[in-house]
């Protein structure tokens, strides 16, 4: 139980009291196989070099850190933004899927199944599968299919099969259920490419390691900008929590305050209840009987009632905090960041900015140096943001 902060989990996949491998027997052998394959690949210099080359020459890494002077002046803090929005496919999701797709190929799997909420992970997975010649099936909640039509089209154009999920809340949670059911039946030749730091061991660890590149780059970039210093605060939005895990990993051993911002309607840490769903023990929105509750968020990517187990652990030991912001604060942040910086954040990423806007001069004192992870760009959300802003105007 004495793993260093953001080091490897225990042998059974626990970060403190969270994590593990709570899956039905048919997929247990695949999880064990994946754990061993990832361990070997991650220790293999050739695999790392191949992944690095794809990240550099295909995805466009390293992504820059941009200092946002106008926003900084407005808020009285120094604002540095890690530009994951500039990656190929428009978000940090590509970092993870390139890693998993390479691993799938190395394991001899020729099919990949994935779940998606906002569609970013689905698009990234479809992209990596096209690149490596793998078959791709993406499960997406029917509600999300409707609010992210363009991403559905992108996935299909990339050769993926998109399956709308009509069970349960018809959002991300149920897309995960269907992807798991599909995997149970096809596990012999299929890899399940989970999009966040959730699911059974080794996924939370593996996905964080594939996203660690965000934090490692940002650490060096901040050192350049800050004369060898580090930011006082690191902010990232959290659904499952992969972009946050990636950027936190670069600063876990520093004094920087790590803040993961949840959607008010999907605040698993805020709910303060331990639960087990989708393969791991973590914090979970649930009722008195243990039925998992549906999350409600303007952002399809954060519409998830759980959170990655390592985040639950970081909250448990006090290394990171997980406040939440409301949909209205998020829409406001989209407007402010767009107008002051010419950066249109994805609705997910706008949660981190919304927290900064609310707290600058408060819990984030004037004079702070804040690193914000801009995990994705807002192109996919234009139709929805335009509708929401119109609605907002009407109600005023």
């Amino acid at each position: 139980m004495t793993n260093t902060t953001m080091g490897p989990p225990s042998a059974r996949g626990f970060f403190g009291r969270f994590g593990g491998r709570f899956v039905p027997e048919p997929i247990m052998p695949a999880c064990l196989e994946l754990e061993s394959a990832f361990g070997r690949a991650w220790a293999d210099r050739a695999f790392r070099a191949e992944l690095d080359a794809h990240l550099r020459h295909y995805a466009g890494r390293p992504s820059p850190v941009t200092e946002c002077h106008r926003l900084g002046d407005l808020l009285g803090v120094r604002v540095l933004v890690k530009r994951e929005d500039l990656n190929h496919t428009g978000s940090h999701k590509i970092n993870n899927v390139l890693g998993q797709a390479l691993l799938a190929r190395r394991m001899g799997k020729r099919r990949v199944v994935a779940e998606t909420g906002a569609g970013q992970h689905g698009v990234a997975t479809a992209t990596a599968c096209a690149l490596f010649g793998l078959d791709c099936v993406v499960y997406m909640g029917e509600v999300d299919v409707a609010r992210q039509r363009l991403n559905v089209f992108r996935m299909e154009l990339l050769g993926a099969t998109v399956v709308p999920v009509t069970s349960g809340s018809r959002t991300l949670k149920d897309a995960v259920n269907e992807a798991l059911r599909h995997w149970v039946a096809t596990v012999a030749d299929t890899h399940y490419c989970i999009g966040s730091v959730m699911g059974p061991h080794p996924y939370p660890w593996m996905v964080r390691e594939f996203q660690r590149v965000i934090g490692e780059e940002a650490r060096a970039q901040c050192a350049d900008l800050l004369d060898g210093g580090i930011p006082s605060h690191v902010l990232a939005c959290v659904g499952g929590g992969s972009n946050a895990a990636g950027i936190f990993a670069g600063f876990a051993d520093t004094d920087a305050e790590l803040i993961g911002v949840e959607a008010a309607g999907g605040a698993a840490i805020g709910g303060d209840l331990v639960g087990v769903v989708h393969g791991s023990k973590s914090m979970l929105l649930q009722d008195d009987a243990g039925q998992v509750l549906e999350a409600y968020s303007v952002s399809a990517g954060l519409d998830y009632p759980g959170i990655g187990p390592e985040h639950a652990h970081l909250a448990d030991i006090g290394r990171a905090s997980y406040p939440s912001v409301t949909d209205a604060e998020v829409l406001d942040a989209v407007r402010v960041v767009s107008r002051t910086e010419g950066l249109i954040p994805a609705l997910e990423s706008a949660h981190a900015f919304a927290y900064l806007l609310r707290e600058a001069g408060g819990s984030i004192p004037h004079g702070s140096t804040v690193l914000v992870n801009l995990s994705g760009r807002g192109d996919k959300d234009m139709e929805q943001i335009s509708d929401l802003l119109a609605e907002h105007k009407e109600t005023q």
Partner: protein, 250 residues
């Protein structure tokens, strides 16, 4: 030996264990009684969960229907007080409900409700120790799943640790009916029988009395879930369905 295992061993013919989702209708216990009266040797009772990842469309629909009626672990156990059969009851559910209820309280409640075994679909043996310690003390058998994908090296340990019986999954996939009996069902039955020192029941994909009869040469019995729940959804007779399986199994 657990009381569940002793009861199943004493049956003397191939075991027939139908499954009924608790709370699917107000009078769901009637289906349990109908199954018992038609020759069931044990009954598996599902406690519905919001995210049943190992269940196919038929049992998912039953779970949704039960949850919409306000079904909880407590309402299922309360209803079981009116159970008047003598065959053993096994509860099937997902681990979060047990975790939320509290291990000791859940085990106690199972005992009070007359349940002798439990299948927790998403609690593999590696994570089961905390629960089984409590369940063992209460005399509740924790049944483990064996899957076609379970390698031989692992299968032996699954069979050793499983209590009451070993639940052999006939196909790789979610619960539900299949048009023909999969070869995997016979294979897994044979593989489990070769190493298990307790009854082996095959579930998942056992769709017809003919399937069941074929399997009875390879295992100690069958579990039928989706066919029962489909029959209930269609408003048909559970008694006739179970009687058909009983006749085929002998």
């Amino acid at each position: 030996m657990t009381t569940l295992e002793a009861s199943l061993r004493a049956v003397g013919h191939p075991v027939l264990m139908p499954y009924v989702t608790g709370g699917v209708t107000e009078n769901w216990l009637d289906y349990v009684h109908a199954a018992v009266d038609a020759g069931a040797d044990a009954v598996e009772i599902g406690i519905p969960f919001s995210d049943p990842v190992i269940d196919g469309p038929v049992i998912q629909a039953a779970s949704v229907q039960a949850l919409e009626r306000g079904t909880t672990p407590d309402t299922v156990m309360r209803d079981l007080a009116a159970y008047r059969g003598s065959v053993p009851l096994v509860v099937m559910t997902y681990y979060n409900l047990v975790h939320r209820y509290g291990h000791a309280a859940f085990a106690r409640r199972l005992v009070e409700a007359g349940v002798s075994g439990v299948v927790l679909a998403d609690l593999p043996m590696e994570e089961a120790a905390e629960w089984t310690e409590v369940a063992d003390a209460a005399g509740i058998a924790t049944v483990l799943l064996a899957a076609p994908s379970t390698p031989d090296s692992r299968l032996e340990e699954v069979c050793t640790r499983s209590q009451g019986f070993v639940y052999a999954m006939g196909v790789m996939g979610v619960t539900g009916e299949r048009a023909v009996l999969a070869d995997s069902a016979r294979d897994i039955a044979d593989r489990v029988k070769a190493v298990a020192d307790k009854p082996v029941l095959v579930g998942v994909g056992v769709s017809t009395p003919e399937n069941a009869a074929l399997l009875s040469a390879h295992a100690d019995g069958v579990i039928i879930g989706a066919p029962v729940m489909r029959r209930i959804a269609e408003g048909g007779s559970v008694a006739d369905l179970v009687a058909g399986f009983r006749a085929a199994l002998g």
